[in-house]
Symmetry: C2
Subunit: 341 residues, 2 copies
Amino acid sequence: MNNFNLDALAQRFRRPQYTVEDYVKGILSGDRSILSQAITLIESHLEKHQQIAQQIIERCLPHSGRSLRVGITGSPGVGKSTFIENFGLEIIQKRQKLAVLAIDPSSQVSGGSILGDKTRMQLLSVENQVFIRPSPAGKTLGGVAQKTRETIILCEAAGFELILVETVGVGQSETMVQSMVDFFMLLLLPNAGDDLQGIKRGVMEMADLVVINKADGEAILSAKLAQRQAANGLHLFPAKASGWTAQAVLASAIEKKGLSEIHQILQKYQSQTQQSGFFAQQRAQQSRYWLHQSIQQKLQAAFYQNTAVYNNLINLEQKVESGEVSPFYAAELLLNQFLSK
Amino acid sequence: MNNFNLDALAQRFRRPQYTVEDYVKGILSGDRSILSQAITLIESHLEKHQQIAQQIIERCLPHSGRSLRVGITGSPGVGKSTFIENFGLEIIQKRQKLAVLAIDPSSQVSGGSILGDKTRMQLLSVENQVFIRPSPAGKTLGGVAQKTRETIILCEAAGFELILVETVGVGQSETMVQSMVDFFMLLLLPNAGDDLQGIKRGVMEMADLVVINKADGEAILSAKLAQRQAANGLHLFPAKASGWTAQAVLASAIEKKGLSEIHQILQKYQSQTQQSGFFAQQRAQQSRYWLHQSIQQKLQAAFYQNTAVYNNLINLEQKVESGEVSPFYAAELLLNQFLSK
């Protein structure tokens, strides 16, 4: 009587096989579960998943673009999670739909830590108007960033109006995030100091808004000092192409202070730059940047995945290392081989 | 009677047409004029010049590698020219042949300023044992760096035993220089200060030696303070893979103080890392790095120089900017077109 059918059981628990049409319909209707599964396709390294993902993206593209994309960064310890959680609750009180994504440069191997911890943002993650997705894993930061950019398109098509892209304050990842957001927010602690808490000058220069977080209790005074220092620092940078003047504000995520003001600043930025035309102009530039980034990635993938070229590369790499052949001539030989196919 | 022959006249003043054989023989015999003309071929954008240059490089390669390659950087005003001139005179007194090259990130358009000024290093430039070459011009920093790396091979084949590669303290160019030198030297002014005179932390971390220059006259005390601060700073970085401990020393290029000691430090580094095997290991790694850099450059050149692809790119770029097509799909279309050839 043991006709227990494993196949039937597996079938029951297998994910439904959606068509591209199903995915697009689900996303456009705001179905967070289907959105999530479509993003899994974007993140997949399987060729067949990638093909479906690209079709979904192209179909969603005409419905995308209508959000404000905000990058948010700060050193570990600045309280990004708590800030995003409480700022997020503020956003949905204002009846805006919120997506929180992340780019973690340390995710290149393991999948990273940002947003990966399910215990983070417990209050926010149960809200219907909110979609939270941890950083995708990937071999290169460029690859990770591309997946996030594609994810933004789907989130926008699903009706999310504010998209927060979180990263950590190390420089390279901020540049990637800046290439996909409209507005860039930097969180600092109320510790005054010339070294700006390990934040690189370039990151400070990107900021459209500096938020001195944890400005509560006994830290109020030092927070005000840090605010003044940050404001002075921002003042020294050349004027932004957006015409926007970066400012420094105080906030306390825990006491929910300053969050409503930050939301107003975002809205002011959006209307101001949409009126001036900079908003659309920057997005066009970013798309162009991603086109060329994508060309570069695909060129390299095609080259390194070519088996014949790869075998020859292994051989030439040794000759280059031992000084028998110059790196430039070896590259020439490999390119000729690659392009003669 | 006016049978004045322009062609014959032009012929007389035309440069001799050397064969690859001539170039190689000239370089190996240490002929600085032929070396200089061969470098001009390396720097040329003409395909036929590039072809001859590559042949010369491959022929010189077995005779290269026997120098110490030293990167040297510092903010404008630190006195790099005077330092290199007087340090160079010290080197040739020790009967070493010296080549001075440069990588100038600002040379991408105009040919740059580093070493470009003929009035610089007047004492050094007349010496027979010395070869000075300004930064090559190029469209990209990577391209400029590649030409410099090729130039190093020819200089080594011509018997130059110490090769100084000069750059300015802006970060990106240092990374390029570090990928082609054995030893990295950072010049600082005797101004103590937390901000390290605008030198990025990453540049400081690369340094095998920090030289507090202009440590003369009334600046001696502040120079000693700067030395102590730099030493403390160096101490905080993780141990180097080379096993070498970076140090900070005082020098006065004008008073010719500390220069002999710096030369001794270089020699100590060379013998220590050659014994440990790190010297050869680092060069092998650098060659490998340049192979992959070169592959990347050539892939992109082949792609963007393909006329049919380029015409399609112009068209798709507009569609990407207007949001009709996603950058990723446009890249896919272009790659398929490029690779189907």
